[in-house]
């Protein structure tokens, strides 16, 4: 099993979610995140004082998938999240040792 984590632009979330649902992914977890990469931040002005805001709002999306689906799911997220402009984010996958469904106690692929 793999954990796929994607850091995406907040306004791409709906598109990514729909694409994942269409692919057959049954669930996902998101959280608000802040960060920057090569895009750096942006500047804001309050009463003439300019502030650089480095950490810009992002969404962190996490999906657990079977090993065989991993690269497909990654591709689905990539297509849906990509706008081609700076700040589109990153996606990565890491191996997962064990997954347990809390309600039933099912383990492994059955718990996905």
């Amino acid at each position: 099993m793999k954990l796929i984590t994607a850091i995406i632009k907040p306004h791409q979330l709906d598109e990514v979610k729909e694409a994942l649902e269409a692919f057959g992914v049954a669930g996902m977890t998101i959280s608000e995140a802040s960060g920057y990469g090569r895009q750096r931040g942006h500047s804001e002005v309050y009463r003439g004082a300019e502030y650089t805001v480095d950490f810009v709002p992002k969404v962190r999306l996490e999906v657990l998938v079977d090993d065989v689906d991993s690269s497909d799911v990654l591709e689905v997220i990539l297509k849906a999240a990509q706008t081609g402009r700076i700040g589109d984010g990153k996606i990565w996958a890491v191996p997962v040792d064990e997954v347990v469904r809390v309600r039933t106690g099912e383990r492994g692929v059955d718990a996905l």
Partner: protein
């Protein structure tokens, strides 16, 4: 006071108007709490708002005990006045004397035959004292002990505000009274100074006074940790804009109410207040657009306040077009002035100086230029403008010096600053044991009740059992 042969009769329209106007002015202080609160960082929003609410609580009481007596106790019934500086604080101490013989004695402060109960005149004036003290708090956001602030509020309003209110409105040195400064400079006509100082609703008493006090306090208290290095951006601009809206609404009570009657002057004041404020918002936004590239919401809210400040002294003397000119200049000037604190290195956190002092000075002096009857631009000669500059500068210097002395005395005794740790962690939790927001939607921030609200001893025992 003109002597009335027949017993005075209450003017019920004016009385109703003053009851409403006073309530509107009182609402300005919670409005200011929102305006200021939104501008601070989220870790100090409650303390910022509490400085306004705290000022409201103590100044309201002090006003009834000796404030009104010190400012206006000389107006009738043989009250005395000390060298034109303040009236006897004990003459009307506690205000029970205002009951008079019929339950509410009447007053006609302008001597125009419009009598209202002195209770509501005192109430109206009370709301001014409250907001003036609250205005100062913006200069020292995020960093001072609440107890020191409350102590300051009581001392400052007594030593600085009441005397200045007396001098300008209570027939003292800066008023148009026969013994006042203007009478000495320009002579007397019919028992009043030939050139009457213009401060309709408090450019000197409220705004120059609060602005100069804010500057003195910011200098004595010192900068916030990280001032000029750390980003200290407003945490909630919608709060700021709601606050500005409430201030604007309440300000109609402030300005139009200062006529003390629902009449033609009050109506023209209403209109002048409106257009000057609109113009100031535009003035501020234009400066921002040219200088920073963006017209901001904080700029609009700040421009509104700058316009209201500037029109305050002038609203009874200008034409609507004059008010627009006064307002647009006020907005532009204040937008330029808020940058001064970085240049000179004082941390007037929420720009009490840049907005209230600068727009207050401009409004007071601008009234001398633009007054339709006596202004320089209307062919009224230079006397009015000179007099306006004088009363503005005298109020500024008086307020600055006295405030500085009070602030230094408090620094040496109670101390102003909370600990550096408390300031970094956030003053709300350190001083008030509260936080403004529950962030992230986790119930009670993952905490639990360590002590239930104390209602009865047995319940507490039961909860602990």
């Amino acid at each position: 006071m003109p002597f009335a042969a027949e017993p005075p009769v209450i003017n019920e329209a004016a009385t109703a108007f003053m009851l409403i106007a006073s309530s509107m002015v009182l609402l300005m202080t919670p409005g200011l709490a929102l305006f200021y609160g939104g501008m601070t960082r989220s870790k100090s929003v409650l303390n910022m708002m509490m400085m306004s609410f705290g000022a409201m609580a103590v100044v309201g009481i002090v006003y009834v005990l000796w404030g009104y007596s010190m400012s206006f106790g000389n107006l009738q019934d043989g009250g005395s006045d000390i060298a034109g500086i303040f009236a006897n604080p004990f003459h009307l101490f506690g205000l029970s004397q205002l009951a008079g013989e019929d339950g509410a004695r009447l007053i006609d402060p302008f001597g125009v035959g419009v009598f209202i109960p002195e209770y509501i005149y005192a109430g109206f004036q009370l709301t001014f004292a409250v907001i003036t003290v609250a205005l100062i708090s913006g200069a020292i956001a995020d960093r001072v002990k609440f107890g020191t602030w409350i102590t300051f509020a009581v001392i400052w309003v007594t030593v600085v505000y009441f005397p200045i209110a007396h001098m300008v409105w209570g027939g003292g040195l800066l008023s148009g009274a026969e013994g006042g400064l203007s009478a000495k400079l320009f002579g007397v006509t019919d028992g009043l100074a030939s050139v009457l100082p213009i401060d309709f609703a408090g450019g000197t008493v409220v705004h120059i006074n609060a602005g100069a006090a804010g500057l003195a306090l910011a200098l004595v208290v010192g900068k916030r940790l990280g001032f000029g290095k750390v980003a200290m951006r407003p945490h909630n601009l919608p709060l700021v804009m709601i606050g500005a809206g409430l201030l604007w609404f309440g300000w109609f009570g402030f300005n139009a109410g200062s006529e003390l009657a629902a009449d033609g002057v009050a109506s023209s004041v209403w209109l002048n207040t409106t257009v000057a404020t609109c113009a100031a918002a535009i003035g501020w936004l234009v400066v921002e657009k040219i200088r920073d590239g963006h017209a901001t919401s904080l700029g609009a809210a700040s421009g509104v306040v700058a316009g209201l400040v500037a029109i305050t002294p002038a609203c009874g003397a200008l034409s609507p077009v004059g008010s627009i000119i006064l307002g647009v200049v006020a907005g532009g000037l204040s937008a330029l002035a808020v940058g001064l604190k970085y240049k000179f290195g004082y941390d007037d956190s929420l720009d009490v100086v840049g907005v209230h002092l600068v727009a207050g000075l401009w409004g007071t002096v601008g009234a001398g230029l633009l007054a339709t009857k006596t202004g320089l631009f209307y062919g009224g000669g230079w006397q009015q403008t000179v007099l306006q500059v004088l009363i503005a500068v005298i109020s500024l210097v008086l307020s600055f010096v006295l405030t500085y002395v009070i602030a230094v005395a408090l620094k040496a005794t109670l101390g102003w600053r909370i600990s550096d740790d408390a300031e970094s962690e956030g003053i709300d939790q350190a001083v008030h044991a509260e936080s403004g927001y529950e962030i992230g939607g986790f119930p009670a921030s993952g905490g639990r009740t360590t002590r239930p609200a104390i209602s009865t001893a047995s319940q507490v025992e039961g909860a602990n059992a």
